[in-house]
C-alpha cells in the first residue's frame, strides 16, 4: 500500500486521502485509509458487496462526513474548508447508480441546469451544448423526454451527459455497468476511456465488474470488509500477478484462485 508524505509534495496528486475513517452512527465501515489519486488517471475502487465502496465514494464527494481523517483536493482540505467546498464541487461530475436525473425536468433541462447556473451562456447556446453532450452519450433527439420516459440505461447515460456538462476535472462513477447489458457496459467503458483522453479528467470508478476493472483501471484500490480498510493498490494486472493476498486473488479471478490452489 502506497504511503503519502506531504500531500502537496507530488504535483501529480489530485486527490489525497489521509487516515480516513468512515462509518454510520457508531458502526465503523472503513478505517485508516491512505491513498492518493493522480491527476488524469482512472482510479477504480473495488471490493465485494458491502465492503464500503459506495460509502467511500460518498465521502469523497462530501455526502458522508468522515469520522476521522482528511481529504484533499489539490492543496485544498475538502474536509474542513466548508466555504470552498462549493468551488471544488463545481469541478466535479458524478454519475449516480440510477442516473439521478431530476424527475420534474426534461432531459435537456437536466443537462442544461448546471450550464444555466454556473455559466453566462444564453438559452440558445445552452441548447446547443446540451445536444452536443447528449450526442456524446448517444441520446440525441431525446431532449424533450422526461426521465420516467427513458429506460434505465438511457437514464444512466443522461446522468453522464449531465455530469460532463461543465467539463469537470474529476468524474465519479458509481457502479457504471450495473443494470446495463454487456455491450452497453462495454460501450460505457470505452466512453470513460475517451472522456479521460479528451477532457483529461481524473476519473474515479466504483465497481465490482471485473471485465471493466481490467479494461479501464490505471490503478485499483481493493477494500477488505473484514479488515475494514484498503489492502491493495495497483494496476489490476500487476495485482493479479504479484499479490499474495488470498482475498484479493479470489476477487480478481472470480473465485477461480481457490480452485487453482486446491488443484495439485
Amino acid at each position: 500500500m502506497e504511503r503519502n508524505g506531504k500531500h502537496s509534495a507530488a504535483r501529480s496528486d489530485h486527490i489525497v486521502v489521509r487516515n480516513l475513517s468512515l462509518g454510520y452512527g457508531e458502526r465503523l465501515i472503513l478505517q485508516d485509509l491512505n491513498f492518493s489519486i493522480r491527476r488524469g488517471e482512472i482510479f477504480v475502487i473495488m471490493g465485494g458487496s458491502g465492503s464500503g465502496k459506495s460509502t467511500l465514494l460518498r465521502a469523497l464527494i462530501g455526502l458522508v462526513e468522515p469520522l476521522a481523517g482528511e481529504i484533499f483536493y489539490g492543496d485544498l482540505n475538502f474536509t474542513t474548508a466548508l466555504e470552498e467546498r462549493e468551488r471544488v464541487l463545481r469541478r466535479i461530475g458524478v454519475l449516480y447508480q440510477g442516473g439521478a436525473l431530476w424527475s420534474s425536468m426534461t432531459l435537456a433541462e437536466n443537462v442544461g441546469l448546471p450550464l444555466a447556473e454556473f455559466t453566462d451562456l444564453g438559452p440558445d447556446e445552452i441548447r446547443e451544448i446540451v445536444s452536443l453532450k447528449l450526442a456524446l452519450v448517444g441520446l440525441k433527439g431525446f431532449e424533450d423526454f422526461y426521465p420516467n420516459e427513458l429506460s434505465g440505461g438511457m437514464r444512466k447515460r443522461g446522468g453522464l451527459a449531465r455530469a460532463i456538462a461543465l467539463d469537470p476535472e474529476v468524474l465519479f462513477f458509481d457502479e457504471p455497468s450495473s443494470g446495463l447489458d454487456p455491450v452497453s457496459a462495454r460501450l460505457l467503458d470505452d466512453l470513460i476511456l475517451e472522456l479521460r483522453a479528451s477532457l483529461g479528467a481524473t476519473i474515479i470508478v466504483v465497481t465490482h465488474d471485473l471485465a471493466s476493472i481490467f479494461a479501464i483501471a490505471d490503478r485499483a484500490l481493493f477494500l477488505d470488509p473484514e479488515r475494514k480498510t484498503a489492502t491493495a493498490l495497483g494496476h489490476p494486472k500487476e495485482l493479479l500477478a504479484n499479490s499474495t493476498d488470498p482475498k484479493l486473488r479470489l476477487f480478481l479471478t472470480r473465485g477461480e484462485a481457490a480452485n487453482e490452489e486446491a488443484k495439485p
Binding site: 458502526r27 460518498r58 462530501g62 464541487l89 449516480y96 439521478a100
Partner: protein, 391 residues
C-alpha cells in the same frame, strides 16, 4: 438394528429414527417434503439426544425421499444446530447433493458476513424497560426538535442569501410552485369555503330566529369567516394538499439520489427546492384566504336569501358594517403564518428521516399531522394575542 419412532407423518412426509450400533443415530427422511405443509418439529429427536444413550454422531438416510424443498433444509439446519449444542457430530453425506450445496451456502454465510456483535445486539436483543422507553422517547423527541430548529436555521440562511441576491433559485420553479398551490387549489378551496359559509349561516339562523334577529346572521358569518374560519379552512386544505405534496416530492427526490445530485453540483437543495415552495405558499395563502372569505360570505348570503328571506343587498350591507378592516387583516395575517407552518412541515419532513420509499409514506403523513397541529396551536395563540391587542 432397532427401528423406532415415526415423528411426523403429515400426508407423506416421514422422519424415522433408527439406532445403529456402528453408525450411531440414523435419521431416515422419506416421502415428499413440501413447505406448504409447514415445518416438521425436531422435538422427537431432541428427546432422544438427551437420554443417557447419547449417540456419537448422526447420519442421514434419504433412500425413501421422493422430493424436497426448503422445508427439508430448515429441518436439517435446526437439527444441526441442536446437535452442535450437545456436541454431536452430524454427517451430511447421506443428504441429496443439492441440499448439501445449500447447507454449505447457509453455513458459509453464517461465519462470513455476520455483522459484528454491536450491531446484532442493537437490533435483536434490545427489550427496554418502561423507564428506558420513556427515556428513549424523550431523546427521540429532543432529536426531532433539534432537527426542526436546524432546518429552520437553514431556511432562514437561505432566505437571507435570497435577499442578498446570492441564492440559487430558478424563477421558473417558483412559477410552477405558485401555479401548483393557487390556480390548482381554487376548486377545492371554493367548494369547502362556500359550504363552511352555509353551515355557519344555518347554525346561526337556528339561534337567531328565536329572537327574530335573523339579519344578524350576516354579522356572525362575516366576522367568523373573516377572523378565523376562512384562514383556518384554507390552511387545512393546503396542509392536506400542498404540505403533503412537498413532503412526498422531496422525499422521493432523496430516494432517487436527486438531492445528492444537486448537492454535489454545488447547488444547495434548501435554496433550490425549499425556497420556491416556501415563497409560493406564503404568498398565495393570504390571496387564497381572501378568496375563501368572499366565497364563505356568499355561502352565508345564499342561506340567508334562500331560507331566511334576507335579500343579498341587505345581507352584504350588514356584512360590510360588521366586518372591520382589522378583522379582515387579522385573518390574512393568520393565513400567512399558517402558510409558513405548512411549508415548513412539508419541506422539513421531506428532508428528514431515511431515504427509503417506506420513509416517504410516513414523512407525508407526518407532514400533514404536524401542519394541522401547528395550525391549531397557532390559532389558539392568535386568539390570545388578538384579545390582548384588542383587535
Amino acid at each position: 438394528m432397532t427401528v423406532t419412532s415415526v415423528l411426523s407423518s403429515a400426508n407423506t412426509r416421514q422422519v424415522e429414527i433408527t439406532r445403529d450400533a456402528s453408525l450411531g443415530l440414523v435419521v431416515s427422511l422419506k416421502g415428499r417434503w413440501r413447505i406448504g405443509r409447514g415445518l416438521p418439529s425436531v422435538e422427537g429427536i431432541t428427546d432422544r439426544l438427551k437420554d443417557d444413550s447419547r449417540p456419537e454422531k448422526i447420519v442421514f438416510d434419504t433412500t425413501g425421499l421422493e422430493s424436497w424443498d426448503t422445508s427439508l433444509l430448515a429441518f436439517v439446519v435446526r437439527l444441526i444446530g441442536i446437535c452442535r449444542q450437545h456436541g454431536i457430530r452430524v454427517e451430511t453425506e447421506g443428504l441429496p447433493q443439492g441440499l448439501k450445496r445449500l447447507l454449505e451456502l447457509v453455513e458459509s454465510d453464517e461465519d462470513r458476513s455476520a455483522p459484528n456483535e454491536e450491531t446484532v445486539s442493537k437490533k435483536t436483543e434490545f427489550h427496554p424497560s418502561l423507564l428506558e422507553r420513556v427515556g428513549l422517547r424523550a431523546l427521540g423527541f429532543y432529536a426531532t426538535w433539534t432537527s426542526l430548529l436546524e432546518f429552520i436555521g437553514q431556511v432562514s440562511i437561505a432566505f437571507a442569501k435570497l435577499l442578498l441576491g446570492k441564492a440559487r433559485m430558478r424563477f421558473s420553479d417558483l412559477v410552477v410552485q405558485v401555479y401548483g398551490c393557487s390556480a390548482r387549489a381554487l376548486g377545492i378551496v371554493s367548494l369547502i369555503s362556500f359550504l363552511v359559509g352555509t353551515i355557519l349561516a344555518f347554525m346561526g339562523a337556528v339561534q337567531l330566529q328565536q329572537f327574530g334577529a335573523t339579519i344578524y346572521v350576516a354579522d356572525l358569518v362575516g366576522i367568523g369567516i373573516a377572523r378565523d374560519m376562512g384562514a383556518m379552512m384554507t390552511a387545512i386544505i393546503m396542509a392536506g394538499r400542498t404540505g403533503a405534496a412537498y413532503a412526498a416530492e422531496l422525499g422521493t427526490m432523496r430516494v432517487a439520489e436527486e438531492i445528492d445530485a444537486l448537492q454535489t453540483m454545488g447547488i444547495a437543495p434548501i435554496e433550490f427546492l425549499v425556497l420556491p415552495r416556501f415563497i409560493a405558499l406564503v404568498v398565495m395563502m393570504p390571496l387564497l384566504c381572501l378568496y375563501a372569505d368572499f366565497l364563505g360570505m356568499v355561502g352565508g348570503a345564499s342561506v340567508a336569501a334562500g331560507v331566511l328571506g334576507i335579500s343579498f343587498r341587505a345581507y352584504f350591507h350588514r356584512t360590510a358594517a360588521a366586518v372591520t378592516l382589522g378583522s379582515m387583516l387579522g385573518g390574512l395575517v393568520k393565513a400567512t403564518v399558517y402558510g409558513v407552518l405548512i411549508a415548513l412541515a412539508g419541506c422539513w419532513r421531506g428532508f428528514q428521516g431515511e431515504a427509503s420509499s417506506a420513509a416517504v409514506g410516513s414523512a407525508t403523513t407526518a407532514a400533514v399531522v404536524d401542519a394541522i397541529v401547528w395550525i391549531v396551536v397557532a390559532c389558539g395563540m392568535f386568539a390570545f394575542i388578538f384579545r390582548i391587542l384588542n383587535i
